[in-house]
Amino acid sequence: MQVLLFGTCLVDTFFPEAGEATVRLLRRFGAEPIFPKGQTCCGQPAFNAGYEAQSRAAAEHFLWEFDGDAPIVTPSGSCAAMVKHHYPWLFRDDPKRLAKAKRTGERIYELTQYLVHVAKAHEAGLRGKGTVTYHASCHLTRSLGVREEPMTLLSSLQGATFLPMPDAARCCGFGGTFMAKLPEISCALADEKAASIEATGADTVTGCDSGCLMNIADAMRRRGTKIRVAHIAQLLAEGL
């Protein structure tokens, strides 16, 4: 079965390993991932900063690149939420694109949604090692409603121990352009998140959104903490 892979601008540019891991996972579970080469960004950075026209320009391009009927899979909760929840609003005055936006929103899956509900990857006996804790990013949890799937997958890793973090869903302080506009507060929040992670005693922290993980990794670096920060796609792919 063909699926369209939306890498996301962050993964494409900064964390291509997470994208490659996503490809391996999709293949393992019977999908043929196609990466539309013209893809760019879902438009979220502009949308969240109040730049409606620019975010619409990105969204129009996305709809064009990802046209069709195949499911779309993306290793990012916030990007999936952007497409599902905000694209219809962006095209509220454009009936044709509005219809397309709604259909596209129905076709898009955040990676763990796809792996649990379509691929049943949690029943595949994936392997893992060491101790893992999980950061539940904000848009994934509150916008998309994905709360159980990542933990279902992590708990299924044979050989790894899942250590839940208190306040796992508390914001890490990334917030897209927020980290640039209010870096002091962003760092303070990232430090708090890092402290929560450290308190679990886990050797690895994972999550579904690269922006969060990047922000957390930076806090770890500042604190001199040696915990591994890895996208859930990478952890799961290592267990194949």
Partner: protein, 455 residues
């Protein structure tokens, strides 16, 4: 006491707050406490979502016909013996109240907590006219004594620890130093009891007003609300127009939601319903009741895209879960209302020119939306204000240029790919040029991006 708005300095204010370890510890304790208490308080409530839906619908109904409800309230309150005044703006509200008090020679006034009175800066206006205004809510009493402004709408002195309060009381009230909250509370009880009994007038706010009966509703724990509204012969109430409920029978839904959302209590110690002045056969109660209904821009807000902020019932739940507010406290926002509801209401009431940094004071994490008892769409409202900020020309010029470029690159893959290569090639330069706040916190772009690794 300087009540100048300092919202334009939000970033500087917050940097100072981040360096204040006492404040950070207090805010952390408060957030942890309120979070747990709210969750515990709602756990036994059957069908919380239906309750929120109902409360949200009632608030929307009021806003949909606000002028009608305000008129209805005015007529009912007047029939019950109150005099109702409409104050179009802060200056009008201050002057109406000053005149009522001055005309009756009122010199000592006891005051219950009222955010709206802070909004219009009432106290300094009355003090300038030679009146003594005593805040009677313990938290407000403390900060009044310190010459500060509230940092939280429910617990205004949350940023002060017990030692600070102990020293304050010892200095100003001449009592022996104690840092035991129970002892400090008794000290305040004694000091304020005298004031209650000798005051010429009481000023209060109101949590709600029922349009059908013309009643004012106050939620308090301390008993000061009851004192202020029944002991002095003259009671002046100030509230903003969106506080209306259609009928008094709508109140139970809010009794079930507000205290739990605010402090995790199933109900506050006191819910006072004040309807007009002393009637024939009454032994007590205010002889004169003046109700000042404040607009201050709300009619205009109600006609616009941001009207849903007027649904807010001032419970403070959004603040307690906001990652930004929890970290920097209320003063950083620079005006009366802090946190998620505050950044929105402040921008709407005081204008983008005086408030625009506030609209960026959010990671749009959505925690506030999850807890708002009346379903104010806080994240949508913040995003709408960000769009307005851009349209009205208050964005940083560098950001505008960057976003214009982004818009082009997002629509043109070749440009996007070029941008990736340039970012990769020039990353050290970007970092060196002072991008340490952003670029310094990100890894360098990958040598080979994903698009060149895949077929």
């Amino acid at each position: 006491m300087n009540h100048e708005q300092t919202s334009l300095a939000f970033r500087e204010n917050s940097v100072r707050a981040l360096e204040d370890s006492a404040l950070r510890a207090a805010m952390k304790q408060a957030a942890d406490t309120f979070g747990t208490k709210r969750a515990d308080a709602f756990a036994p409530v059957a069908d919380l979502e239906a309750l929120r839906d109902r409360a949200s619908a009632i608030r929307e109904e009021v806003l949909a016909s606000l002028p009608m409800y305000v008129d209805r309230f005015t007529a009912a309150a007047t029939r019950a013996g109150a005099v109702v005044h409409r104050a179009n703006d802060a200056a009008a509200a201050r002057e109406i109240i000053r005149k009522i008090l001055a005309d009756r020679g009122a010199r000592l006034i006891v005051k219950g907590k009222s955010m709206v009175s802070e909004e219009v800066d009432l106290n300094s206006h009355l003090e300038a006219a030679g009146m003594e205004v005593v805040e009677t809510d313990l938290g407000e009493y403390i900060i009044q004594m310190e010459g500060e402004t509230p940092s939280h709408i429910i617990v205004p002195a949350i940023h002060k620890n017990r030692q600070q309060v102990g020293r304050l009381f010892a200095d100003r009230l001449g009592v022996p130093y104690s840092d035991d909250p129970q002892v400090l509370t008794k000290i305040a009880r004694k000091a304020l009891r005298e004031k209650f009994l000798s005051a010429d007038a009481g000023i209060s706010g109101a949590n709600f007003a029922s349009a059908d009966t013309g009643s004012l509703v106050l939620f308090t724990n301390e008993g000061n609300g009851r004192m202020v509204t029944t002991v002095p012969p003259l009671h002046v109430a100030i509230l903003s127009i969106e506080k209306m409920l259609p009928t008094l029978t709508d109140l139970p839904a809010f009794i079930r939601l507000l205290p739990r959302s605010a402090t995790g209590q199933p109900i506050t110690s006191y819910v006072s319903v004040v309807t007009g002045t002393r009637k024939a056969g009454d032994a007590t109660g205010a002889k004169e009741l003046h109700i000042v209904l404040l607009d201050n821009g709300r009619t205009e807000i109600n006609a616009g895209e941001s009207r849903d902020i007027l649904k807010c019932i001032r419970c403070g739940a959004c603040m307690n879960v906001c990652p930004v507010y929890r970290t920097v406290g209320g003063h950083a926002y620079g005006w009366t209302y802090p946190g998620p509801m505050g950044m929105i209401l402040t921008t709407l009431l005081t204008g983008m020119a005086k408030s625009h940094p506030l609209v960026d004071a959010s990671t749009v994490c959505g925690a506030c939306v999850e807890v708002c008892p009346v379903r104010v769409p806080l994240v949508d409202l913040i995003l709408e204000l960000r769009r307005r900020k851009v349209r009205e020309g208050f964005s940083d010029p560098k950001e505008k240029r960057g976003m214009a470029l982004f818009g082009k690159a997002a629509a043109k893959p070749a440009l996007f790919a070029l941008g990736q290569r340039l970012a990769g090639a020039f990353w050290p330069l970007v970092r060196a040029l002072g991008g340490k706040d952003v670029a310094g916190r990100m890894p360098a772009p990958a040598k080979t991006p994903l698009r060149r690794r895949l077929p």
